[in-house]
C-alpha cells in the first residue's frame, strides 16, 4: 500500500472524529490530528483502535503517544506492517 492509499484509508478512519471539515478535505502528510482536524484528544484512542482494526496490527503505548499526525501514523502503520519495531 503506497502513501496515497494509506492517507485515503486514514481519512476514512478519522472522518467521524474530525471537527474541521475543511482540514479533513485537505488532509495530507502534514495534517495534525488535534491542531488541524480538531479531533478531541480523548478520541485519539478511538482513532488508534480503528487503525488497529483496519490494518490488523497492534500499536504499543509508545507508538500510540507519537501518533498525533498523518505522517506519524503512516510511519507507525508501515513499520508495524513490515514487522519492524523502530525504537
Amino acid at each position: 500500500m503506497d502513501k496515497k492509499e494509506l492517507i485515503t484509508e486514514l481519512k476514512t478512519i478519522v472522518t467521524p472524529y474530525a471537527q474541521d471539515p475543511e482540514a479533513l478535505d485537505n488532509i495530507g502528510e502534514d495534517t495534525d490530528f488535534i491542531k488541524d482536524l480538531k479531533i478531541n484528544s480523548a478520541n485519539l484512542v478511538d482513532v488508534v483502535l480503528d487503525v488497529e482494526e483496519k490494518f490488523g496490527i497492534e500499536i504499543d503505548n509508545d507508538s500510540m503517544a507519537k501518533m498525533l499526525s498523518v505522517k506519524a501514523a503512516i510511519e507507525i502503520i508501515e513499520d508495524k506492517l513490515a514487522g519492524v519495531d523502530r525504537k
Binding site: 467521524p16 472524529y17 480523548a42 478520541n43 484512542v45 478511538d46 483502535l49
Partner: protein, 426 residues
Amino acid sequence: MNNRVVITGLGVVSPNGTDLAQFRQAIRNGVSGIRHDPQLEKLLFSCQIAGKPVIDNERLQQYFKPLELRGLESTGIMYGVIAGLDAWKDAGLEPVDTDGTPDWDSGSVFGTGTSGIDKFREAIYKVDALEIRKLGSTVVAQTMNSGVNAYLSGKLGLGNQVCTNSSACATGAESILMAYERIKTGRAVKMLAGSTSDSGPYIWGGFDALKVCPYRYNDKPEKGCRPMSATASGFVPGSGAGAMVLETLESALDRGARIYAEILGGHVNSGGQRGSGTMTAPNSSGVQRCITMALKEAGVDKQEVDVINAHLTATSKDVTEIKNWVAVLERSGKDFPYINSIKGMIGHCISAAGSIESVASVLQLAEGFIFPNINCEDLHPDIEKLVDPARIPTVCLEQKFNILAKASFGFGDVNACIIFKRYEHG
C-alpha cells in the same frame, strides 16, 4: 431571595409514550406500556415483563451526533438526553451557540441510580479478558452517574450548577426540589430538572432476586402492575426519563413563556430506618412528616389538596401508603382527595419514577384532567375501608383543580413530596 418558581417546559420518555404528545394521550386513556420482554425470559427471570420505552435510531439521530452514537450503550443517557432536550425546546429555549458564552444563569439537576449499566458490563468483560486497551474513549462518560448531565449541559451550554442526585426511587422528585431551591434562593434563573433510569436485565435483576416483582403475568403483561388492587403482587420494573424546565416567575413572564404550573414547595427527608423503616420499607412517621412539612412549606392547608399523585407501586405497602395519606390529611371516605398512580400503566421506573410521574402530575394540573388508575378494578378491601372508590378514578376525569401533592419514596427509607399548583394566567 424568595422567588416564585414555575414550570415552563416538559419532556418525557416513558414506556407508554416517548414524547409529550404520546404520553399525554396514553395517560388520559390508560394505555399500558408494559410488554413481555424476550431477553428477561431468556435469562430465566421470574418476572418477564417490563416497561421499556421504544426509541429508534432515527429518533436518536435527532439528539446525538453520529460520533456520540458510536458505542453508546447507556440507555439512561439516551432517555435523559431526549427528555431533557425536549423540555428545553418545549419551554421555547435554545441551546447556547457552540462558540458562545455558557448560560451562567441556567443549570441542571438530573438524577439517576446507575448509569450505562450495559456499557459497564461490556467494559468489565474487556478488562477481565485483558483487553483494557480496547475499551475506547467513552466508558467513563457513559458509566459515571453524572454522565446524563454531562451530555445535557454540553449540548445546551449550561453554566450554572450541573449536578446528578441519587436517592433511589425518590430521585426524580428530589431532583425537582433541588432545582426549585436553587431558583427560589436566587442562585439560578432557570434549571432543567429531571431523572433517568437504565433499562434491562442488569438493572432489574436485583429486584427480581428480591422477589418484589409479579411472576404470574408473563402472558398478560398489561395486567401485571396493579396498584391498590386486592391482587397486587409486586411492581413491574420500568425505565425512561422525565424532565421539566423550572424558572423564576419573573423570567417566565418577561419572555412570555407558557406556564404549566407553579411549585409552591416541598420536602425531602428520611425515616432513618427506625420504627417500621428498613432498607426496603418506609418508616410511616418519616413519610407522614415529609408530607406535613411539604404542605407547611407550600402554605397549603390539608383540605386544599385536590389530587394526590401517589408512589403506590403495587405491593403490600400500598395500604400503608394510603393509611399515611389519610393520617396526615385527616381526610377519608368521600372527603379524601382524588388519588392516582401511573405505575399500573408503566411500572416502576426506579430512579426515573419521580420525574416521569411529576410530568404526568403537571399535565393533569395544566390541562384539567385526572388520569385513570388501571388494574384496580378489584380495589383492595383495606383501601376501600379508608377511601371512597369514587376518589380512585378508573376512567379519565375531565376536571379542573388547583393543588396536587406528588410523593415518591425509596430504598434506604427516603421520602420526597412536592406541592404543585395550577397557574392562573393573567
